[in-house]
């Protein structure tokens, strides 16, 4: 039957056969379908690595001895082989000391206090400078550091909102199971007490001078400033 009446379905059948034939030919490599050579561009994202300044420089800039710096760096490098701590790691580490509550908010504020150049990571220099102030600094320097911690937006004034944030963060660290039971207004009350003590001119903000003056006049605070000096 050479003359075939190709009706609809038969047409489709023939088409299918042709397609299959083509596929078989492709398999044998006789027909090349055009493949674009995918250009592989892999950007080697190098991990952030940071090497600290030399030992002598750090010795000059901080009040730690050579040996102490060595011990500090060994511990630091062990935990953060890349040489810098980012905020997540910082929060994790700090949270491990306060298993009962949530230390992440306070750790965030601490991180900002340590990260003096605000580049999002704490390098060994930042770390060691901060520690130097806290452990070996004068009372003035420590108070300065504390003020810097409380002043969240670093504008030189502690407002009630900033203080409330800090206070809530601290109370968060206590967690749920406390005695007496933590109430909603506890941090707020604490902030009120703080402002009553510190805000001499009652203008609603605490400046660095008011803060330092007030702290220097408070015996308890002055005494406790020497508490952590033998930490390292």
């Amino acid at each position: 039957m050479l003359t075939m009446n190709l009706e609809g379905l038969e047409m489709i059948a023939v088409l299918v056969v042709v397609v299959l034939f083509v596929k078989v030919l492709e398999q044998f490599g006789l027909l090349e379908a055009g493949y674009d050579d995918s250009v592989e561009d892999e950007l080697e994202l190098s991990a952030v690595r940071h090497r600290p300044e030399g030992l002598e420089q750090l010795e000059a800039q901080t009040r730690f001895s050579r040996k102490e710096l060595q011990i500090l760096y060994r511990g630091f490098k062990n935990e953060c082989p890349s040489g810098v701590v980012n905020e997540e790691t910082f929060k994790d580490i700090y949270s491990q000391f306060f298993p009962q509550g949530d230390a992440s908010t306070y750790a965030h504020f601490l991180f900002n206090a340590f990260d003096t150049d605000h580049n999002g990571s704490v390098s060994f220099e930042d770390f060691v400078m901060g520690l130097s102030i806290l452990l070996r600094g004068t009372v003035q320097e420590k108070l300065n550091w504390a003020f810097n911690l409380y002043d969240i937006n670093k504008d030189g004034y502690i407002t009630k909102e900033e203080m409330l944030d800090i206070m809530k963060a601290i109370y968060d660290m206590m967690g749920k199971c406390t005695y007496p039971v933590l109430k909603e207004e506890t941090p707020r009350q604490h902030v009120e007490v703080f402002f009553q003590k510190m805000d001499k001119n009652k203008d609603g903000v605490v400046t660095i001078d008011e803060f330092i003056d007030c702290c220097q006049n408070d015996e308890n605070i002055m005494r406790s400033m020497h508490l952590f000096e033998n930490v390292l």
Partner: protein
């Protein structure tokens, strides 16, 4: 706590300077750090291989052998090193644990040798890092199973019956495990025999026998020897019924037994006979009756009790259900497609057997499974083309899922086992985390106790100081500072939940204003615990005549006294810390006593009060417990 955390503790403590200006109370004194600040290199000689490491590295895990003073036992004065007569290869991994904080399991080591080394060095295997944990657990499980199998094979397989078992239990045991007694074995074989007899009878009664005299047609044997077959059927059914009732009686959980597959099979096997007895010889229902006889063939499934292989096959099919479902679905799709195409291709032909699409289903199935009966054959060209495509694709559609099923089966099987293990491990891990949290809390509460004692009475400090590391001391001091900053204390779960529970206890405010004003000054909390705080202050203020003189008004109330520590609030001083109950180390008895306050105790406005229960007669001294979690003493005061 993780090792590395120890290195960050000085930082955390330094950062506590940030709390100092905010603190409500004065900070506690820091612990005296007697350890030498300088770090030294230790030499550890393990069977001749010398390892060197910093002392600090080993000190990270004080509860292991190398981290504690236990290693001093192995110190060799002559060579100034620690000598261990153990495997140096293993020691490498142990030491790496100290260095990196992660314990790895070496895959080429014997699991038992590894376990022994861990036990020697005081390291718990749970510390193994996630990367190696699964391998470790698998190997350990494998090992245990292999050992268990060996011991099982060695022992006699017939375990003796537990004594004092009821007859019911013995019966059930006999049914489940026929090898226990001879009777059970006999019964087992008898039932097996009767199952076989019943099945063979069902088969044979359809075979055509020679027709009886005077008839031409062949009769099936069932109708020729009707009585004989009926008797045999009755006997089998009687045995089966008896067996089923016995099993039902002996089953420990009847409902569970009745829902099990085997019992359903049993019921289905014997029901037709009884239904046949009950039903009248009616023309209408005889058709249904014939159908029922089909169910008699299910008796063959009763063999699965006798055959382990059948059970495994059943389980295999069940676990591969999804794969089988996929196979079925893809087959159905293909069948429908090809049947439709074939129908329309063959529609025009005269005398075509493809009368409808469902009729074409038969052709498609026969072609796809390459059976090819030839009862339906396409005639048109299109039909033939599509028919050939159908048979080719049939081979693929059927052949492809089968190896997938096989490999899936083995994967699913192992995966199931692993999923169960994971779930169990997850529970264990969560429990461990909870315990660690509780442990930290308890250790801290313990620390505060010790401090309180140490502050007041230096003699008992010596008794109370446990072997706690410098790290713990400092960590607890840090937590203590936080408490002082916020003027709240850490408690544990129990106490907290009880605190909030007992706020519903009735409280008659028969206090004077002086008391409440002092309360206001001393205690920040309102709501949940003011009564308790006032109550406690009442205890302390028992010296004053204010509350006690109204002895008649006070009703029986419940007092909670935390044995761990009482909030240090005396009458006048916020800062002095006094524990109201004299605490002795190490003892652990609790008493709940009914206190009566008969007379107003003497008014001794002394700052350093003796424990206030002392003026109140009748209260037995509560002694501290070393376990904190569930210890609160309820004291009822009258």
């Amino acid at each position: 706590m993780a090792a590395g955390v120890a290195t960050w503790l000085p930082f955390a403590r330094a950062a506590a300077v940030g709390w100092l200006p905010l603190a409500k109370k004065t900070m506690p004194k820091p612990p005296v750090d007697n350890s030498s600040r300088s770090d030294e290199i230790l030499y550890v000689n393990v069977s001749g291989v010398r390892f060197q490491t910093w002392k600090n590295t080993l000190d990270r895990y004080p509860e292991t052998l190398l981290g504690s003073s236990e290693k001093e036992f192995f110190y060799n004065e002559d060579t100034q090193e620690y000598f261990f007569d153990r495997d140096p290869e293993m020691f490498r991994h142990i030491l790496n644990f100290y260095r990196t904080g992660k314990l790895h399991y070496p895959r080429n080591e014997c699991i038992q040798a590894f376990d022994e080394e861990l036990a020697f060095y005081g390291i718990v295997p749970e510390i193994i890092g996630d990367c190696c944990m699964e391998e470790y657990r698998d190997r350990k499980k494998e090992n245990q199973e292999r050992l268990a199998e060996d011991t099982e094979a060695n022992e006699a397989s017939d375990a003796p019956l537990p004594p004092h078992s009821t007859s019911r239990e013995r019966l059930w045991r006999a049914f489940e495990n026929p090898h226990t007694s001879t009777m059970a074995l006999v019964f087992y074989y008898v039932t097996g025999f009767f199952i076989a007899v019943s099945v063979i009878a069902n088969v044979v009664e359809t075979v055509p026998c020679r027709p009886p005299k005077g008839s031409v047609k062949d009769l099936p044997c069932g109708e020729k020897y009707q009585l004989a077959f009926f008797c045999m059927d009755t006997a089998c059914v009687l045995i089966f019924t008896f067996e089923y009732l016995m099993r039902l009686f002996a089953a420990p959980s009847r409902c569970k037994f009745m829902r099990s597959v085997m019992s359903v099979i049993d019921v289905v096997a014997i029901m037709p006979y009884y239904i046949g007895l009950v039903m009248p010889e009616n023309e209408d229902v005889s058709g249904a009756f014939v159908t029922l006889r089909v169910f008699r063939v299910f008796r063959i499934f009763k063999f699965s009790r006798h055959s382990q292989g059948l059970r495994i096959l059943g389980y295999t099919l069940k676990s591969c259900a999804s794969e089988l479902g996929f196979l079925l679905f893809s087959l159905t799709m293909a069948i429908i497609i090809f049947a439709t195409v074939m129908f329309y291709a063959e529609k025009g032909t005269k005398g075509s057997t493809f009368t409808s699409i469902p009729a074409s289903f038969w052709y498609t199935i026969v072609t796809m499974t390459t059976l090819g009966y030839g009862d339906m054959v396409p005639n048109t060209i299109a039909g033939k083309i599509f028919g050939s495509i159908c048979s080719l694709s049939g081979v693929l559609v059927i052949a492809l899922p089968v190896p997938v099923i096989v490999s899936n089966f083995s994967r699913i099987y192992h995966q199931n086992q692993r999923a169960d293990k994971m779930r169990a491990q997850q529970k264990v891990r969560l429990a461990r985390i909870r315990m660690a949290k509780k442990g930290t809390t308890n250790a801290f509460l313990q620390y505060k106790e010790d401090r309180a004692i140490g502050d007041r009475d230096s003699d008992s400090t010596a008794l109370c100081v446990k072997n706690r590391s410098a790290f713990e001391h400092q960590h607890h001091h840090l937590l203590h500072c936080l408490e002082k900053t916020t003027n709240h204390e850490f408690t544990d779960e129990m106490t907290y939940s009880e605190l909030c529970m007992t706020e519903s206890v009735g409280f008659r405010t028969s206090r004077s204003t002086s008391l409440s004003s002092q309360q206001g000054a001393q205690n920040n909390s309102t709501g949940c615990c003011p009564r308790r705080a006032r109550r406690r202050a009442a205890m302390r203020l028992a010296n004053s005549t204010v509350s006690v003189s109204r002895g008649s008004v006070q009703e029986l109330d419940m007092l909670h006294v935390k044995t761990t520590s009482i909030p240090p609030q005396t009458r006048s001083s916020l800062n002095a810390q006094s524990d109201d109950l004299k605490l002795n180390c190490g003892e652990q008895d609790f008493t709940a006593a009914i206190i009566s306050i008969p007379t107003p105790p003497a008014n001794t406005p002394d700052e350093s009060l003796p424990p206030s229960p002392a003026p109140i007669p009748g209260i037995l001294r509560n002694t501290r417990a070393t376990a904190y979690t569930h210890d609160t003493v309820k004291i009822s005061s009258l």
